[in-house]
Amino acid sequence: MDIGWYLTVSALIFAIGAAGVLTRRSPLVILLCIELMLNAANLALIAFARMHGDPDGQIFAIIVMVVAACEVTIGLGIIVAMHRRRLPINVDELRELQG
């Protein structure tokens, strides 16, 4: 199949993830959308790896998944801390760090 299809799907998923990050208020959902964007990138990487017959892309995709996992751990840890302090779980209301 043409590489273009895979890239289109990847782009669509990325756009949906980006739109989610920009519009959703809950940090948990924003983390999910970030995951979406990361996976879209993974898809593109694997598609190119298949196209060139080069395993490098697949290895890089696994590394990206590891990074995503670590980052989600930390992100969820922050959300649990926010919940523990009874802070509103709403990125719009958490804006004290401003100029």
Binding site: V21, L22, I30, V91, D92, L94, R95, L97, Q98, G99
Partner: protein, 670 residues
């Protein structure tokens, strides 16, 4: 030659060592020890000056201008600044006078200042002053001269405001210092004018090059010398920079004797004598000096017959006599002017010392109106004051007669319009006789006042409440105010010795330069002035005789007038004062110079100062410059701060937008 240089250095540095020793050891010395230490330093200095005199006379006549260099300050392109001393007859002459008279005044002060809490400080300052003055007269180039000049001004300030808790004293000190600084500016600018053409700061070098550097009647040289004269006038209290001298009488009497009679105020005379080759190349500047000297001697003489403060009469007398000296050296009578400097140092210091004794007997009171009849109570002081007065009034054979006579002789010999100065000089001599003996008759003759009667019984008057003699404010006798005890000459041997020596010098000091008989001063100073066109002058015998007669008549007539007005007809002075009320007002108010300077200089300066503070500082500097810069920075940063909203989605949106733009850029650019 090396021993001469050594003696010169020892003379210069002994007082400095004295100051440092007194400064460091001061606390540990008790009683009168600081006084003896200070006087010892001066004694070493004087002895060394005498040794220098002998060493100088050992040299051949044409080798008597020796330069002693310590080190180079800066050998940069074009400027030869060294710490150099010029030891020649003129500087040795001044050295002897300064060291000698200072030593006697130190001796006097040992007793006079004995009960003052600032005793050590006094001697430290006095030694520092002598060091500065010696530096000034020994200077071998303009740089060291300016340094000495400035130090002398600073020492004068320290000593005038010695009783620093007295408001009048500190104000007087500031006034003296400010006017002296004005003179310093003139001196430095004048030096620059001269240096620009000659290219050297060294005195001997400048004088050698002066001929070609200032060909013709150079305007630059005249301007430069007039600026130098500003310096001389400020230091020597000539019109119009004289207003500090009477106020400087706020300092203790030994200070007045030393600084404002014998040494500091004579620095201007020394300066003109030292720069004589330059003055002879610019006769206009010399004429300015002569005219101002003449004006001063007349104005000061008129004021002296009207003021009532004892020390101020003597201060105006000093101003007047320095006017003679300045007139003399400007007219080319160098030896005569310096001779008068010497005799004046003797009799003026003597007069101040005697005045100090009288003021002590009056427990600090200085007003002539309150004094009278001390003749029986203080015979020694009366004798000294009488000798000083006769010398001042230039009655032969006292020293003042010969020196003043010599100046007038040479001024008259110049001819032309100098005859006006000649006449004015003798009018001044008449006034001198009047005010000198007015002072003496009022203080010593007549009915004894209460203090004098007390003293005749053997009890020195002691004020229960110490007051400022000028304003009557109450004071205590702690540090910063005069001491509780007063010391008169009759009871203190050191004061007697000092005054006795000066009295002898005032009587016999003139015999070194009697016309046609002795030429000690002339001959001694010859090597310094051998390049002068005006030095070797031989006035006619008729002029000499005329001078002798006029001088004697003027002095004796002055004394006679004073006797008639203040002794024979006691009410006469009051009646004259009423008849000539306007004139009296002019004289008593010192010709309104203080008010004039206040209106011309002080008020505009104050206005400028308040303008600078209220308007310029507040509006321009604080408002526009400082406020404007901070305002701009604040506005800029608040604009930038608006981007920090704290809103997470806003930041995420910016990231996305940036990414999209970058992608577009790469797409478009291919």
């Amino acid at each position: 030659m090396t021993s001469l240089k050594l003696f010169a250095w020892v003379t210069l540095l002994a007082p400095l060592a004295g100051t440092i020793a007194l400064g460091l050891l001061g606390r540990r010395l008790t009683g009168r020890a600081p006084g003896y230490l200070g006087t010892a330093a001066l004694a070493v200095s004087f002895a060394s000056a005498i040794a220098a005199l002998f060493a100088l006379q050992d040299l051949a006549e044409d080798e008597r201008q020796v330069v002693a260099v310590a080190w180079d300050y800066a050998s940069t392109v074009g400027v030869d600044a060294q710490l150099s001393l010029l030891v020649d007859p003129l500087s040795v002459f001044m050295m002897l006078i300064v060291a000698g008279v200072s030593m006697l005044i130190h001796l006097y002060s040992i007793s006079y200042m004995a009960s003052d809490r600032g005793y050590t400080r006094f001697f430290a300052y006095l030694n520092f002053f002598v060091f500065s003055m010696l530096l000034l007269v020994l200077a071998g180039n303009f740089l060291v001269l300016i340094i000495g000049w400035a130090f002398v001004g600073a020492a004068s300030y320290l000593l005038i405001s010695f009783w620093y808790r007295r408001a009048t004293a500190t104000r007087a000190g500031i006034k003296a210092f400010v006017i002296n600084v004005l003179g310093d500016v003139g001196l430095v600018l004048g030096t620059f004018f001269i240096f620009r053409h000659t290219g050297t700061l060294d005195f001997l070098g400048t004088f050698e090059r002066a001929g070609e550097a200032f060909a013709g009647n150079s305007a630059d040289l005249t301007a430069g010398l007039i600026l130098v004269l500003v310096g001389a006038f400020a230091k020597s209290a000539q019109i119009p920079l004289h207003t500090w001298l009477p106020d400087a009488m706020e300092g203790p009497t030994p200070v007045s004797a030393l600084i404002h009679a014998a040494t500091m105020v004579t620095a201007g005379v020394y300066l003109i004598a030292r720069m004589h080759p330059l003055f002879e190349l610019a006769p206009t500047a010399a004429d300015v000096g002569a005219v101002i000297g003449c004006l001063t001697l007349l104005v000061a003489g008129t004021i002296a017959i009207a003021v009532t403060d004892l020390k101020r009469v003597i201060a105006y007398s000093t101003m007047s006599q320095i006017g003679y000296m300045i007139m003399g050296v400007s007219a080319g009578a160098y030896a005569a002017g310096l001779f008068h400097l010497m005799t004046h140092a003797f009799f003026k210091a003597l007069l101040f010392m005697a005045a100090g004794s009288v003021i002590a007997a009056m427990a600090g009171q200085q007003n002539l109106d309150r004094m009278g009849g001390f003749r029986r109570a203080m015979p020694f002081t009366f004798g000294c004051m009488l000798i000083g007065g006769l010398a001042l009034a230039a009655v032969p054979p006292f020293s003042g007669f010969f020196s003043k006579d010599e100046i007038m002789l040479l001024v008259g010999d110049r001819g032309g319009w100098y005859w006006i100065l000649y006449v004015a000089g003798y009018v001044g001599a008449l006034l001198t006789g009047v005010y000198a003996f007015r002072m003496i008759f009022r203080a010593f003759l007549g009915e004894p006042v209460a203090e004098a009667r007390e003293l005749e019984q053997g009890h020195l008057h002691h004020a229960e409440v110490h007051t400022n003699p000028a304003t009557g404010e109450e004071e205590d006798s702690d540090v910063g105010f005069p001491g509780a005890e007063h010391h008169i000459a009759e009871r203190e041997p050191t004061m007697k010795i000092a005054m006795g020596v000066l009295a002898l010098l005032a009587i016999f000091g003139g015999l070194v330069q009697v016309p046609h008989v002795t030429h000690v001063v002339d001959g001694f100073l010859e090597p310094t002035f051998h390049d002068s066109a005006l030095y070797e002058r031989h006035p006619s015998d008729s002029l000499i005789s005329l001078g002798v007669v006029l001088g004697t008549v003027a002095g004796v007539l002055g004394i006679a007038i004073a006797y008639l007005v203040w002794v024979r007809n006691p009410g006469l002075s009051g009646r004259v004062r009423e008849r000539l009320a306007a004139l009296h007002k002019l004289f008593v108010n010192k010709w309104f110079f203080d008010e004039l300077i206040d209106a011309l200089v002080v008020r505009p300066s104050r206005w400028f100062g308040s303008f600078a503070q209220q308007t310029f500082e507040r509006v321009v500097v604080n408002g526009v410059l400082v406020g404007g810069t901070t305002g701009v920075v604040k506005a800029g940063s608040s604009a930038v701060r608006a981007a920090q909203t704290g809103f997470l989605r806003y930041y995420a949106a910016l990231v996305v937008v940036g990414m999209v733009l970058m992608a577009f850029y790469f797409l478009v650019s291919t």
